[in-house]
């Protein structure tokens, strides 16, 4: 197998991966970025509403970063590490200014300063935005900037498959060139996992087709833990029926959720915050309305923007307007947009501290949605994910540079490990008959949606675990019909399927294990939050078919848990 050497391999070319790469390359180290897609195709491009930031001199005069940290902690139902939330808040203004200086075209106030709007769960408005294509605008800026350094090697349309490790430390990544299926061992002193989320595990998701949880599964197979894997966020307003995201900005700008009687039903669920309640609360409210017969046929409610006026909608909510028009045939200036919840974000992820460092494996780092720092706890506030990718992408990059400065060369040989990884991938190609990836994946997505979704029960999750076990058995017999080596997407879909199954098992087992309701993890059989027994992070390892669970305390600084009312 061909081998290449880098100081650092970054898996993923979204905002977190690019930001980390920028920092590492700027310090003079060699960086390879491996991505399944060309960088601007990364899922960061789909983020819409904005990036939260407290900007000195350009925020509400009553606001301060401590309020921002508090909102994040409360929003996350106190499962947030408070040191992480503080770091996120205190660096928010600076990172937005950096991105602005690199060229991001933030919307402006009349005096030329960066504009701001409200998002769910914010005490004061803090969301900075570029229309409702903020993620795309930021991603293009960071890609343009990072590629302009001329120091980062981009391996795009390459499939990262396995982390290679020795007894204690990470040694590189085995990846395939998707154009010709040629495997390459990328040897590295450090690896940054910035591989994004996993929406394709769910039948209904706002995520890109490429979000198959590859990074989480790579970590699990390298005997690395995921933190809080049971916490899956559902976005309340996905367009019915295509599940295209209708940005939370729609509610931030004054959009109102209405049931089939025209009632503003959020008054029942969050009497103070109404439609600006956080996502977990709004998602459950919508599904409750539908279940109790106050939804529309097919299972959705209306998002009413009509009172905002045509001009305002078309400028500030252009993508929402366009999506409703193109994909549901609805003119949002005149009619309500049909919406329902869909999987949106993964709060769980590779266990790391606030520098992005993983405790299980020396030299392994993670950032962005792939990581669990944890700043989102049990439920992420809107506008915090773009912020996290940039702040912690940069922090992680800096920590990697620190790590490299004290690095010593290992002596053990790990080429055999890399060859083993190549073999496990090729096994799916060599079989002559069996099932196709599509059969397994479609079934998995249904099971996860039905049984490990917005509402969870003991029976449902037990069923999910046993179904996933069966699918994992079935997957041993998958084979690839396409025998060509050129751009064989079937081969990569089969590998993605394996990744999805590994992750699904960990999610279902840890969700079954947490006997309380907290944030996005809502159990009908345990509807209350239980701080006495469950104010702790889940730490999960996958060993074969077994999920091993331990716990870790939540880091507290200034804020004591209180009841979460809005």
């Amino acid at each position: 197998m061909e081998k290449v050497n880098y100081d650092v391999v970054v898996v993923g070319a979204g905002l977190a991966g690019l930001m980390a790469s920028h920092e590492i390359a700027s310090a003079g180290y060699s960086v390879a970025v491996i991505s399944k897609v060309f960088p601007t195709r990364s899922h960061s491009s789909s983020a819409e509403g904005g990036i939260a930031a407290y900007i000195e001199g350009n925020s509400d005069p009553n606001d301060n970063p401590d309020y921002m940290a508090y909102d994040t902690i409360k929003g996350g139902d106190y499962l947030v590490d408070q040191d992480a939330a503080e770091l996120l808040s205190y660096k928010s203004g600076e990172i937005v200014r950096t991105l602005e200086s690199w060229g991001t075209l933030f919307n402006r106030q009349p005096d030329g300063r960066v504009a701001v709007r409200y998002f769910g769960g914010q005490t004061y408005p803090r969301t900075r935005f570029v229309g409702d294509k903020t993620g795309m605008a930021l991603l293009h800026t960071v890609y343009e900037r990072t590629s302009g350094l001329g120091k980062v090697d981009f391996y795009f349309e390459w499939f990262a498959w396995e982390l290679i490790r020795d007894d204690s430390r990470v040694r590189g990544v085995v990846a395939f060139d998707m154009r010709n299926m040629v495997p390459v061992f990328f040897k590295a002193k450090a690896v940054v996992m910035a591989s994004g989320g996993m929406g394709m595990l769910y039948k209904h998701s706002t995520n890109s087709y490429i979000n198959t949880g590859d990074g989480y599964a790579m970590a699990l197979r390298a005997r690395v833990a995921l933190k809080d894997p049971e916490f899956v966020q559902f976005h309340p307003t996905a367009l019915y029926p295509s599940d295209i995201l209708i940005s939370e900005a729609a509610r931030g700008e004054g959009g109102i959720l209405r049931n089939n009687k025209g009632e503003r039903f959020m008054a029942r669920y969050a009497p103070k915050k109404l439609d600006l309640a956080p996502r977990d609360i709004a998602s459950r409210a919508i599904l409750t309305e539908v279940k109790e017969g106050r939804g529309f046929p097919g299972g959705y409610v209306g998002l009413d923007l009509t009172h905002l006026g045509e001009e305002y909608i078309k400028e500030r909510l252009a993508l929402a307007y366009e999506a409703a028009k193109s994909f549901a045939g609805i003119d949002a200036t005149k009619e309500m947009i049909p919406v329902r919840p869909a999987q949106h974000y993964y709060m769980g992820g590779i266990d790391v501290d606030i520098t992005g460092r993983n405790p299980d494996l020396i030299g392994l780092f993670a950032a962005g949605e792939a990581a669990c720092v944890s700043v989102h706890g049990a439920n992420r506030l809107g506008s915090n994910s773009l912020l996290e990718t940039l702040v912690f992408g940069r922090e992680t990059g800096r920590a990697v540079v620190e790590f490299l400065r004290s690095y010593s060369e290992p002596s053990s040989d790990i080429d055999k490990e890399a060859e083993k990884a190549e073999q496990t991938a090729y096994d799916v190609v060599k079989r002559e008959s069996g099932v196709h990836f599509g059969e397994v994946v479609n079934k998995l997505r249904e099971v996860m949606w039905e049984d490990v979704g917005v509402f969870r029960t003991e029976d449902g999750m037990k069923n999910a675990v046993s179904e996933i076990m069966k699918l994992r058995d079935m997957a041993k017999d998958t084979y690839v019909l396409d025998k060509s080596k050129v751009y064989n997407t079937e081969f990569y879909n089969a590998l993605e399927m394996k990744n999805m199954l590994d992750l699904a098992l960990v999610i279902a087992v840890t969700a079954l294990n947490r006997k309380e309701s907290r944030g996005a993890h809502y159990r009908l059989d345990y509807p209350k939050r239980d701080d006495e027994n469950w104010l702790k992070h889940t730490i999960a390892y996958l060993r074969g078919n077994t999920v091993e669970i331990t716990y870790k305390p939540v880091k507290m600084t200034k804020w004591k848990p209180e009841e979460r009312v809005y």
Partner: protein
């Protein structure tokens, strides 16, 4: 509020390609509803019928630019196109999907975009801010109207559809192509940028190589209007210190068109040609015209329009 749905069976004919077998058409039968996007149709074909089919797709909401292809011959994003809308538009439930033109096919609907990326990198697609701003010692302020204007051209998603359908790209290796011009102009016009002169060197000559056919304008899924960016870039020519022959010819042509309309209210092609290419160049071309018997058309004398004074007022901006 209840959404009107409908279901329909369609036949999707995909032009497939592999390096070993060449190209062939393959048909897939599929039930779709009123809301089915082509990306979803393709996903279903791949997971339920034929896993060997290759295509690119990611965001399915027209911001990542992965899924450019030809749908019934039209350059489109697959995600931004609904199957039933296409059936209605063409009056047939048989639909063809083909890879984008111009780029080299790799497999099925996947094409090699290296040429596209090279074009984009040529225009230095990034802001070069001042040192003070980079160090955080100064702050950019941007007027809301400047933000709006620049954002229009910044929305290019690198899908490649405009380049795939641009005739000038095929004929003129020196032409950067529509997407690169949109990107180039977005930074050329940004008041925060510091390398304006270098950008002019990169963009101006190429801008005069566009023929204004408007294909890029027609196919762009984000309404970036690269052709408008090119027009606005040409306006920077008056600042250029060194002008290439293409720019000089272009400027003469623009001036000649202006003069022709100012004098007669009409486009007198022979006169415009003469002013643009000069006597010697025009004489050479006239010999060709004479040989092909078309000279008489070139020498038609136009009468000025009535109310020519009104036309002149408009041209003077009165």
């Amino acid at each position: 509020m209840s959404l009107q749905n409908e279901e329909m069976e369609v036949i999707i004919k995909v032009k497939r390609f592999s390096q070993d077998k060449g190209s062939w058409w393959q048909e897939y039968k599929l039930k779709v509803d009123r809301f089915t996007q082509f990306t979803e149709a393709l996903r279903r074909i791949k997971t339920e019928q034929d896993p060997t089919l290759a295509y690119r797709a990611a965001c399915h909401m027209a911001v990542c630019g992965s899924c450019g292809m030809k749908i019934n011959g039209e350059p489109r994003l697959a995600c931004k196109t609904l199957v039933i809308d296409t059936v209605k538009k063409y009056g047939s439930n048989v639909i063809t999907l083909e890879p984008m033109d111009y780029f080299t096919p790799v497999k099925d609907l996947v094409v090699n975009l290296d040429d596209f990326y090279e074009r984009m990198y040529k225009v230095k697609p990034r802001l070069y801010p001042s040192e003070e701003v980079l160090k955080g010692e100064a702050e950019h302020r941007l007027k809301p109207e400047d933000q709006r204007m620049l954002w229009k051209f910044a929305q290019c998603i690198w899908c490649g559809l405009c380049v795939s359908s641009c005739p000038s790209v095929r004929n003129d290796p020196e032409f950067l192509g529509p997407a690169a011009h949109a990107k180039g102009f977005r930074f050329l016009a940004d008041p925060r940028d510091t390398i304006t002169e270098e950008r002019e060197k990169i963009l101006l000559d190429s801008a005069w190589r566009c023929t204004y056919c408007y294909m890029c304008y027609n196919v762009c899924p984000r309404d970036v209007e690269p052709v408008t960016a090119i027009k606005k870039t040409r306006a920077y020519t008056k600042l250029a210190k060194v002008k290439s022959p293409v720019i000089e010819t272009g400027e003469k042509h623009t001036q000649a068109v202006f003069e022709s309309i100012f004098e007669s209210g009409k486009l007198e092609e022979a006169k415009v040609y003469l002013s643009t290419y000069g006597v010697i160049g025009s004489l050479r071309d006239m010999i060709y015209l004479l040989q092909s018997g078309k000279l008489k058309y070139a020498l038609v004398k136009e009468k000025p329009v009535e109310n020519i004074s009104e036309v002149r007022k408009i041209l003077r901006g009165e």
